[in-house]
């Protein structure tokens, strides 16, 4: 086996890896076999420091797995070989060893409780630290807490739970993950995504690949003094994910967690037939033609959303076994998760397998591995609500005989009849399937250097593989007005391999009982390789083939396309060295200093290396003698930290420039040319951030109330920016290091126990509030604005550049007499936008409203946060998790101009609005019969901006823990059943008030709209699969 391991670095073959993994699993399972000896009978009681019995404590013969569990009265009986040691342990207590004398009959043991949370251990990257000694900004959330909310992935589970961690929905389809921003955005073109580290190794995959049920804890490093040890990857914060492990010496436990829930769509607010008919008449642009599928009297009222949506469901089943041997531990788990959307054919399924094994060999060596594997299936990702939202309610989907039409013809458009019935009837005519297999593996070996106590060497090897295989097929006429529209099939494959090797030396020493030193040195390198290919074929006539035979193009008009712009391959590598020293004196004064040096392949030669210093210090004031009399304060710590981090998350080969292929046909001769699309930049270097962090941790009233307050200030320099050049430069863009950004913010997290077992009632509550103020400090060459990218110095990175709606033009307005000067061709009831020009002496404007009047509209919220509360009484528990946001701008493309759902022209179905008419002048929306620009009311984009504030309850859960006695009788340790309502309530939100919709975004800025106007980075509400209200029933069982 070891021979296998030693071979890995030479050639990283997935085959060998998989074989080795299986070998590991088998051999360690056999290690649990035992040998029996001659025994004595011992009876005893296990109690805590106050003398209360500890039910369920484990008593075990050292070096074996043979043992018993204490009764509810804390008593146990065990038969032990003479002169053996017993190990007594219980959750929340420090384990104790006792020696059983040859003649002993009884043994009473007292266990000491861990010193609450402060004594707990925090994962800080390349090691752990007692929470008490942490000097950086680290937030920890346990897997138990995380899994109080049933969630599809880590990002969903974290939403609203940690101060400073903003999690935004970018997609509402099954299987989608959310965007994680730790303390804001700082980069313009490089990635703003946090680094995820899975079991110690930087995680190259998709966060949706990790089964949240397998998570033991998540530790989030927020400030640079904590993240600098990740150097070039630390600028956006680090999320350390630790998966479940077995416990050395613990008995095997089987845990099952499962739930099932139904999902109901929150419908988009569209007009009904009568309202729509009225709008069409008012707009007077489109008239229903006889013979079209629209009712010429406006009486038909088809709810296309009702015809499309079904009840969706979500289910998750997690099963795992954990246990340990004398010198080893193991964990094996598997899970199944499925989310079926409200749109038929759209679903996500994930199967996962997780295992962790750890084994000591002799005195000095320890080895182990963790493996996380999953297989995810996504189908129907291209389906959405768009067609249902654009088909007029007065169009009739049924033929006279009651059968469904293929298409409905409106005045200008002909839409495919997009209903669940027609989708379900597609059979082989439609498939849209992504199958992703991934395997994330971490193998480690640890060596205690003999003769030097406290010195350890550890090697971590990460071997990761991800494959995503897409196949799509649409048969003739699918979703097209023409039944003969040719069939189309696409296949694509992406593969990612990643290896990482870390060599760590750690040294720990305590001098004179008060000086604690811990030092770490790291040398590491890693490389990720990615390759992607895709082929498209049209004219496959046998539906059954779908995309499985791309060569079977039998239609003479079919073609096979291998577009050179859609193939890709890249490699990126990173070489790093890091050193860190942490020192604490008497647990009162702590200091930590680190320096890391990184080189990245994606930067230009000569600019590849950068150094990252970090230092932080803390003072545990509560431990000072002068505080000993202040009984109310249990803990008080102040911290300060400074660190540098950077960002190299730009695409490979950007320093070299790019030629983009373009195809052309000279008559029937096809050939490919090239355009310069990106200029080379031989001086592309690091974008780096400097952060100061100040924090106070406290707990008072016998730890009933604890909290953290932090303030940070971060400046990012040499921002990697894709500079879009004016057309006259002849080249679209170049990537440069220019500009500076800043993030300043404040975070508060409070956790309190309001009632502690008062008459059986316990009530805990927690809240986190944070605000982040992002600002662009400078752009390229002293520019104050980059209009094309919507970047403006002094404003946040995300700012809208558009006209500012100040109302509608009313005939009673004082300046109405100048309407034609302001707006040539304008009319009463049109959108009135702010004019910034000068005026003539008579009060008339000197020019028409135009480009110069565009305004910079900040999108940034004032503050946001989350809250959670949990009440328990006897076996019952009720928890509520909520989130809130104050201020900021929500872009709804449903109401704005880019979705084409609020054209007010009566051409297509319209979102339900109150619009201006000569008799309804007090409306919010403009006159449908007014001036039109790009198919929408002029300045229609301004209609899509809403106050983004909201307060919503994300989940309410009611659980019941069955009486441990009954469980015992049934052979189980613990069983909890619960019901959960997800998305049950929006308590405050201007957008919700008007639309009845969820106030969260569901698309990137360029998605789920008819035309693009917003940058991709800006999240918007579009016509994605609708949000849902879910009702879930679930069960947690351990035995």
């Amino acid at each position: 086996m070891f021979m296998l391991i030693s071979k890995f670095p030479k050639r990283v073959s997935p085959k060998i890896l998989i074989k080795a993994l299986f070998a590991f699993v088998l051999i360690f399972c056999f290690n649990t076999l035992l040998v029996a000896q001659k025994n004595v009978q011992i009876k005893g009681t296990v109690k805590d420091e106050t003398g209360k019995p500890i039910p369920g404590a484990s008593v075990r013969v050292k070096g074996t797995t043979s043992g018993v569990t204490c009764t509810d009265l804390g008593t146990f009986t065990i038969s032990v070989p003479a002169n053996q040691k017993l190990v007594v342990s219980a959750t929340g207590y420090t384990a104790k060893e006792i020696v059983v004398a040859a003649d002993a009959k009884t043994a009473n043991v007292t266990l000491t409780q861990f010193v609450t949370e402060l004594g707990s251990v925090v994962v800080i990257g390349y090691g752990t630290q007692r929470k008490e000694a942490v000097t950086g900004s680290v937030a920890t959330i346990s897997g138990d807490k995380l899994n109080e909310i049933p969630s599809a992935n880590i990002s969903q589970a974290l939403q609203g739970r940690v101060a400073g961690v903003e999690i935004s929905q970018t997609d509402s389809r099954p299987g989608s993950t959310m965007q994680i921003r730790i303390r804001g955005t700082r980069s313009l073109n490089a990635s703003n995504d946090a680094l995820v580290v899975l079991d110690g190794i930087p995680f190259p995959g998709s966060i949706g690949d990790i089964d949240p049920g397998e998570i033991k804890s998540i530790d989030i490093l927020k400030d640079a003094s904590a993240t600098a040890i990740y150097g070039s990857r630390g600028a956006n914060g680090v999320i350390l994910v630790t998966t479940n492990k077995g416990r050395q010496g613990a008995k095997p436990h089987i845990t099952y967690n499962g739930y099932y829930g139904i999902k109901n769509a929150i419908k988009y607010p569209m007009m009904n037939g009568a309202d729509f008919w009225k709008l069409r008449q008012t707009a007077n642009l489109y008239r229903t033609s006889p013979g079209a599928d629209e009712d010429t009297t406006g009486k038909t009222n088809t709810d296309w959303q009702d015809l499309l949506y079904q009840t969706g469901y979500v289910t998750s089943n997690d099963l795992s076994v954990t246990g340990g041997t004398e010198k080893g531990s193991y964990q094996i788990g598997g899970s199944y998760y499925k989310d079926q959307a409200v749109i038929p054919g759209q679903y996500y399924t994930r199967y996962s397998l997780h295992s962790a094994i750890d084994q000591e060999i002799g005195k000095f060596v320890r080895i182990g591995f963790t493996t996380n594997n999953s297989y995810g299936i996504t189908n129907g990702a291209t389906l959405n609500a768009g067609t249902a939202l654009s088909t007029t309610p007065i169009s009739n989907p049924y033929n006279a005989d009651g059968s469904l039409k293929r298409t409905v013809k409106m005045t200008m458009d002909e839409n495919w009849v997009y209903t669940k019935q027609s989708l379900n009837a597609l059979g082989n005519q439609f498939v849209d399937l992504t199958r992703a297999f991934n395997s994330y593996n971490n193998i480690y070996g640890e060596l205690k250097v003999p003769g030097v106590p406290g010195l350890k060497y550890r090697a971590n090897i990460g071997l990761n593989y991800r494959q995503s295989n897409y196949g799509g097929y649409t048969g003739y006429g699918f979703n097209s007005s023409s039944a003969t529209t040719i069939s189309s099939a696409t296949i694509s494959n992406s593969n990612t391999t990643n290896w990482a090797i870390e060599n760590l030396l750690t040294y720990e020493k305590t001098i004179a009982g008060k000086h604690k030193i811990s030092a770490t040195a790291l040398a590491s390198s890693e490389q990720t390789a990615y390759w992607y290919s895709t082929i498209n074929a049209t004219g496959i006539q046998n539906d059954a083939f779908q995309f499985y035979n791309m060569g079977a193009v039998t239609d003479p008009n079919g073609q096979i396309t291998v577009n050179p712009n859609n193939q890709s391959a890249w490699k990126r590598g990173l070489v790093s060295y890091m050193g860190r020293v942490m020192y604490s004196y008497n647990d009162r004064y702590m200091i930590s200093a680190a320096v890391r040096s990184d080189a990245a392949s994606v930067l230009a030669p000569g600019h590849q290396w950068h150094n990252y210093p970090a230092v932080s210090a803390g003072w545990n004031i509560a431990k000072e003698s002068f505080m000993q009399n202040v009984k109310a304060i249990d803990n008080l710590k102040v911290r300060i930290g400074y660190g540098e981090t950077s960002n190299q998350s730009v695409n490979p080969y950007q320093t070299l420039g790019t030629l983009t292929p373009v195809g052309y046909n000279f008559g029937t001769t096809n050939t490919t040319g090239y355009n310069v699309s990106l200029l080379p930049n031989p001086s592309l270097g690091w974008e780096y951030s400097k952060t100061w962090n100040y924090g106070v941790d406290f707990s008072i009233l016998k730890n009933r109330l604890s909290g953290t307050i932090e303030y940070y200030s971060q400046k990012t320099n040499d921002v990697l920016q894709s500079v879009s050049l004016p057309a006259t430069a002849g080249v679209g863009s170049v990537l440069q290091n220019i500009g500076n950004t800043q993030n300043k913010g404040f975070e508060l997290a409070l956790n309190g126990t309001i009632l502690e077992n008062k008459n059986g009632w316990t009530w805990d509550a927690g809240i986190n509030v944070y605000s982040n103020h992002n600002k662009l400090l400078s752009l390229a060459s002293g520019a104050t604005q980059d209009v094309n990218n919507w970047w403006f110095v002094g404003h946040p990175i995300d700012a809208i550049y558009d006209y500012q709606k100040i109302g509608l033009w009313q005939t009673t307005d004082k300046d109405y007499q100048y309407l034609q000067t302001y707006e040539p061709g304008g009319n009463a009831g049109m959108i009135k936008v702010k004019y910034t020009g000068t005026y003539n002496s008579n009060g008339s404007p000197t020019r028409a409203i135009g480009a110069a009047d565009r305004q910079i509209l900040d999108m940034q919220p004032k503050f946001e946060g989350g809250f959670n509360t949990r009440v328990t009484y006897k076996g019952f528990d009720l928890s509520i998790v909520g989130a809130f946001k104050s201020g900021g701008t929500l872009i709804s493309t449903l109401y704005g101009a880019t979705g084409y759902y609020n054209m007010e022209s009566g051409r297509r179905e319209n979102v339900k609005i109150d619009y201006w008419t000569p008799t309804n002048t007090n409306a919010k929306y403009p006159n449908p019969a007014g001036i039109i620009n790009s198919n929408n009311p002029k300045y229609g984009t301004t209609l899509g901006y809403f106050d983004a504030s909201y307060l919503k309850i994300r989940t309410i859960s009611l659980g019941y823990n069955f009486n441990p006695k009954w469980m015992k009788a049934a052979g189980a340790d613990r069983m909890r059943v619960y019901i959960t309502a997800q998305n049950p309530l929006v308590l405050f939100s201007p957008y919700h008030k008007e639309s009845g919709q969820d106030p969260e975004t569901n698309s990137y800025g360029t998605q789920n709209q008819a035309v693009t106007n917003y940058p991709y980075r800006m999240l918007v509400v579009g016509s994605n699969t609708p949000s849902t209200k879910n009702f879930i029933i679930g069960c947690n069982l351990t035995f």
């Binding site: 040719i486 008009n557 396309t561 050939t671 002849g730 040539p824």
Partner: protein
Amino acid sequence: MKHIHIKHLMGSVLIVFFLAGCSKVLNETPQSTYTPVYFSTVNGVTGGITALYANLRNFYGNGYYLDACQVGTDESTYGQNADQNFKDLDLSGVGQVTGTSSRSDVLWNAIFPTINTASGVIQYGTAAGVSSSLIAEARFFRAFDYFMLVQTFGGVPLDMGSGILKFNTSAVRTSSRNTVPDVYTKAIFPDLDTAIANLPATGRVTGGVTKTLASLYLAKAYLTYGWWLENPNNIPTYPTCARTDPNGHNAQWYYQQAYNVATAAIQNPGPFGLMATFYDLNVATNDRNKEVLFYADHSLSTQYGGLTSTSYSSGGSPDNFAGWMEQFNYTGISSAKTAAWTSTANTVQRASVQDLGRPWTEICPPIGVFKNTFADKTNDSRYDATFTTVYRSNMAEAGLPQTTYYNANALPITEGSPVLTFLNNDTTAGLVDYSNSVYKSAIGAGVLPGRADYVIEPSAISRIKYPGNWKLGPYRTDNGTGLGNPNAGSTRPWNIAKFSELFFIAAEAAVKGAATTAVTGTYANDGTARGLINIIRARAGTWRWSHAGNTAYAVNNSAAMIAATPATVDINFILAERSREYFGEGYRWYDLVRTQTWGQYGTPYTICGTAWTDRTQVTVNRTIPVTYYIRPIPQGQLDAMLMSDSLKASYQNPGY
């Protein structure tokens, strides 16, 4: 045992250290993308030239660029479905032309990258070992591109960042404009001279540029520059400069050069020439014919043919979607299922055939086009082969359940029957019954006694119903027996330049005083403006096929056409003739601007309103300031430049 394990572990540790120090991890070698270094190879340079052709699709065939070339002239106004993209350019009080709305941005944004690629080819081509005739193609493109720019915007920058006419590799975010004479004398003329010297007579590839094409553009550039130097109507230019030629010539000299170059090209046509009839020139089955010198090619291929999808386009380059603009929504025409007119059906459905296509109703021809420009619809075949005047039923392709429907006067119609006809002339007042009381056309069309088709008189042409521009209609080879894919971009080439224009250029130069000499060869004539134009008019009088009648029609009206030519051909006659020859193809705004007659021709125009039933002619006045003879610099350019507001303001053309 344990000892051995440790040994192996140590071994693995050593390997790990070795790998960690490996600097290979930091090297970059792209395996799927090209870098600009590729331009130093023959294949790279050739690929650059291919891109020059492909980039034509970024404005030719783009409906919004066609909009900028047409709307506001006597040929075009905005249609019923038009938004501000079209209304702004109409200059009739329904919008305003600004840097954001001019739609000339389509040209501006597409053309500079092409110029830069051309400069790269010219600069590196010889060193890479590319032949001079290939480099001449790049020279043609650079000259052509600058000629398009200087006609549209006035003076434009010759230095894109790395020096005058140099391949730009620097990330400059400033720009400064050269004057009009600079652009002509430093870029356009020298490049075209070199191009003519080195280009082949027959294209290197199908649709490849040739000596004849370069001659056409040189002649046109001389002519245009001659007008600019002469400036008869005192139209301002920008950047401001004296109307003197750096080469010391006057307008007259350039008119003469235009004449000489154009007539020489007519005398030595190479493989090019006029098609026998105007119909044959424009019918889709004859695409890429000998009369078309230059086109942005398209095909059914999504990878090469500039087609974003074979079934649907949202209307953007590189799709060829300009043909959708000038087509009205004929799909609303209704016929009856029974002779008693109890229920109705749409008997002309949206189809990808040249007569029909996707109806966006954005650009509309004013009534003057039918009454004045194409007053002669019987001798001159060009009216017949410019418009779809007869909308025929495609009930079979549409898969309608019946083979006979009932139309006007309850008369039966079948597959291919005319359902709607735009009449050549107005009839006796009141003869056409537009009431739609019995026979509900649903589009406000009228009924003439005894005719099964609905009719519309020229006076009833409105912003919502007008004959579609047949020349630009789609054509596909994959329709089968159905309607095809009318919502996709057109798979036809977009014609940019035709052999016939050489006659117009020479004639215009002659009108402007160029000394004439008799032209010999296939197109022999006396070399006067009248003689040259009559070659075109004679061809226009030749019929082979009646488009409106959908039948063979071998008639030769050439003599009548020639007889109708005025004794003295003046600029007005040339402009009218150009409008008949190139109607709606994107020539008009440039023609009116070159000849400084936009103010005269652009206003007023007459059209009926936007409701189907509207038959009230409205005369609309346009306001055409002299500063509008050059289009505004696009706002995107101004936004992207890093310059002071005052410098940006002076970069913009005055009046915007």
